[in-house]
Symmetry: C2
């Protein structure tokens, strides 16, 4: 017989929430403070010498519209393709439309290496250029790797630090799950979001820097600095551990099962050339009303990417988005008003999304009654109630200048009742964190806001536990 | 200000595991004991006067092969269709094949009403005929309703007790989640598995009976008595609450993320007439080698169904299945050896399945080295190690005589090492229960075995907590 306790372990890592809170409280780290960060980041920006230029489609290298389907694809058959999608989504109203969509069936890895210095968890972040970022260089996870990256289709350099995420036997994994990406632009794309803690030394490199959660939280107050992949991965850390909530965990899962049953989402991929309502010109594919987004092409020159220059298509939204949550403390427990969102590219019909997630310009032609619920409450919010507001851009490897204003707004019963309209639900911060451990529950926009909330609320432990 | 505690509640229903254990220990209930049950069930069988006859396809009423596609469909466009599927599944070997598959995009409800009598939870079970069951009448959940049922496409009677599952505001929900069905025969079909507790009286009816979990567990030792839907729903109850396991919960989720990333599953639905390797005759669609399953048609006459007679297609497997888990107590904590299973009809690439799930006859032509891992260990197990063995049949509304031998077998390091082959993993009983609360983690075969394990292990609380 083995002595008791040598084979099994505690199912939960009970010490992690405390360690996360300690890191969130730390504004000084092993690499100095935030001013030191900005000096380093400015140096990385100066060293980069990046240029991104719009080009017509026929100057794309290796990419072309396929005979027959008109799909935009790379000659290797890898990376991603732009195809057509027919969607019908409804409850109670059924909307039907066609659109271009990005297909990339492979699962990528978004990974952050964590390590304790002086008893405080630090996260290894990377200054990384992506062509669609408004300011090109942003703060990224340790690793962003598509399967094409790590199987060598790029014919570029190996992805630095990838081995921490592909050889995890014996590693201390802090979080790991498959999470959806933008369901309006990607067809069932997901990435593996991972945080792996190491104890040994990680070889230093000028593009990488150890930061505490408190520092990252401070940086998230800057516009367009912490990239989408970083925000998404960091949302996987445990946060508030209050054991009370407006609804029990079982009731929350039940409500989500109801929402997934009630919403009908039918999608069919088809040839890009057959998509109606969209027209292709020399340098873009546009919606006939000039709304939603365009498909464009760019040429990229860069110093520190795996491949030093390339061309590629990007999706370019036509307006700035608004992504916001209304929040309330209910008997001391922080809650978020989420919406069951149906997006055509989700693997499952609906996921939890923010209270408001839209591009207001797409609704400008409609009467106010047809605007998204709570949009007016968000855009006209009393500044004293705005707890968080910053511009963030979406995945810069696929989306060009896809900026949204992300906001956290304190609400009250008058603006956001505890018994909200159909499709909305109050979820505690702790419940959101638990849902976020499982895939396909919390959409990518809400994950950004969860990362913000983790930072906002970390230093103010919830009552009501 | 509201007084503290009037709006929020505990996120977890901490008392439920204990109440479930009490019900599992009860062999006498409000409706008597198991002998009383058998008398009632025999009476229901005698009262039913059911007959199911095989018919050629051209005697189907309302069902026909569609022009062009050859798909088998109902003229209403509802219920389900039999279409073609092309699948390629692999890691590391890629298998490619085509087959008929059932498409039924709507989400049905499988619901059990629970109520306490004398402080013991009882579950309202129904004696229900389904044409594919080997013995026609089996014990079903309180409600089995397709969307066609409750929107009236059947033009039959309303589904009894459905309102407990469609009007849940204020109800005490014990479990509720969308769960996958057979991924080899259904394309992305799922049902909402619900248990709802009531406090008021439920109108009695001769086809319904209150049973304790202990009684249901005893009945599950009989062949073909407790139907698949009942087993699936009952698997959603909490069981073992040991806080220790061989792997932490985070490591388990990480392993599943790896399995879902590593497996490639590509599926495409297409016309049934284009499926290669299958031939259609007057009364069946068969695989060219006589393996896997057949598509057949039956005529049904019944007394207590929503509609008194009808015809329909069914899938008929060609051999008896073996569905088994190897189990071990590791430092006192019960564990199950699960396999990451890729089935073409799963919404996500893989789910957790039993150690062994196959139809041995489909492998009879292959050398032993190509038989499924652990199949020999299961079929040749020392009878002293067989903790559970019974024949159960799958969903009798879609599958004809789809019987498998379900087994639970005690293993040791020699037959089932703690470091198992690629694709296998030891998961504690408590972890399986938690995974089962979320959809698309635990496949329908493993859910049957979880229901058995809940019964087997309920009266022997685990050490190691």
């Amino acid at each position: 017989m083995m002595p008791r306790g040598t084979l099994t372990r505690q199912r939960d890592d009970g010490s992690l929430p405390e360690r996360v809170a300690r890191s969130a409280a730390a504004r000084d780290g092993v690499s100095g403070d935030v001013r030191d960060f900005h000096a380093w980041f400015a140096a990385r920006r100066a060293a980069g010498r990046f240029a991104v230029d719009r080009i017509p489609f026929d100057e794309l290298d290796g990419w072309s519209f396929q005979d027959g389907t008109g799909d935009l694809a790379h000659r290797s058959g890898r990376f991603f393709t732009v195809e057509g999608l027919s969607a019908s989504v409804g409850d109670p109203v059924t909307a039907r439309w066609q659109q271009p969509i990005i297909r990339q069936p492979e699962v990528g890895i978004l990974g952050i290496v964590a390590r304790e210095f002086d008893g405080v968890l630090h996260f290894l972040m990377q200054a990384k250029m992506e062509p669609g970022n408004p300011n090109l260089l942003q703060l990224s996870p340790t690793v962003q790797a598509t399967r094409s990256n790590y199987t060598g289709v790029h014919r570029g350099a190996a992805v630095r630090h990838l081995e921490y995420f592909t050889r995890t036997d014996g590693a201390r994994i802090l979080s790991d799950g498959l999470q959806s990406e933008h369901g309006s632009w990607f067809y069932r794309k997901r990435n593996r979001n991972m945080i792996v803690e190491v104890t040994g030394e990680v070889p230093p490199h000028e593009d990488f820097r150890w930061l505490t959660l408190g520092q990252i939280a401070e940086l998230m107050r800057s516009d367009n600095l912490v990239n989408m992949d970083s925000r998404s991965v960091l949302a996987g850390l445990p946060a508030d551990v209050a054991r009370r909530a407006l609804h029990s965990d079982t009731d929350l899962l039940s409500w989500l099962a109801l929402m997934r049953s009630a919403h009908t989402v039918r999608t069919e991929c088809g040839p890009l050339s057959a998509v109606s309502g969209w027209t292709r010109s020399a340098a873009s594919i546009d919606h006939e009303d000039g709304r939603y987004f365009r498909v464009v092409a760019v040429a990229v020159r860069a110093g520190n990417r795996e491949v030093s220059q390339w061309t590629q298509p990007l999706f370019e939204p036509r307006g700035e988005g608004v992504v916001a949550v209304l929040t309330r403390r209910i008997e001391g427990v922080p809650h978020v008003l989420v919406r069951a969102r149906a997006e055509p590219g989700f693997l499952d019909t609906v996921e939890l999304g923010p209270t408001v997630q839209c591009t207001p310009a797409n609704y400008a032609h409609l009467p106010p009654a047809e605007h998204p619920p709570f949009l007016a409450a968000v855009t006209a919010a009393d500044p004293a109630r705005v707890r968080y507001s910053a511009l963030h851009s979406e995945e810069g490897g696929r989306f060009l200048n896809a900026q949204s204003r992300y906001m956290v707004i304190d609400a009250d019963e008058a603006t956001a009742p505890l018994d909200p309209p159909f499709g909305f639900r109050w979820v505690s911060h702790g419940q959101l964190a638990v849902m976020g451990r499982h895939g396909h529950y919390v959409n990518v926009h809400l994950r950004t806001l969860v990362a913000c909330l983790n930072a906002l609320w970390a230093t103010a432990p919830a009552a009501g536990a």
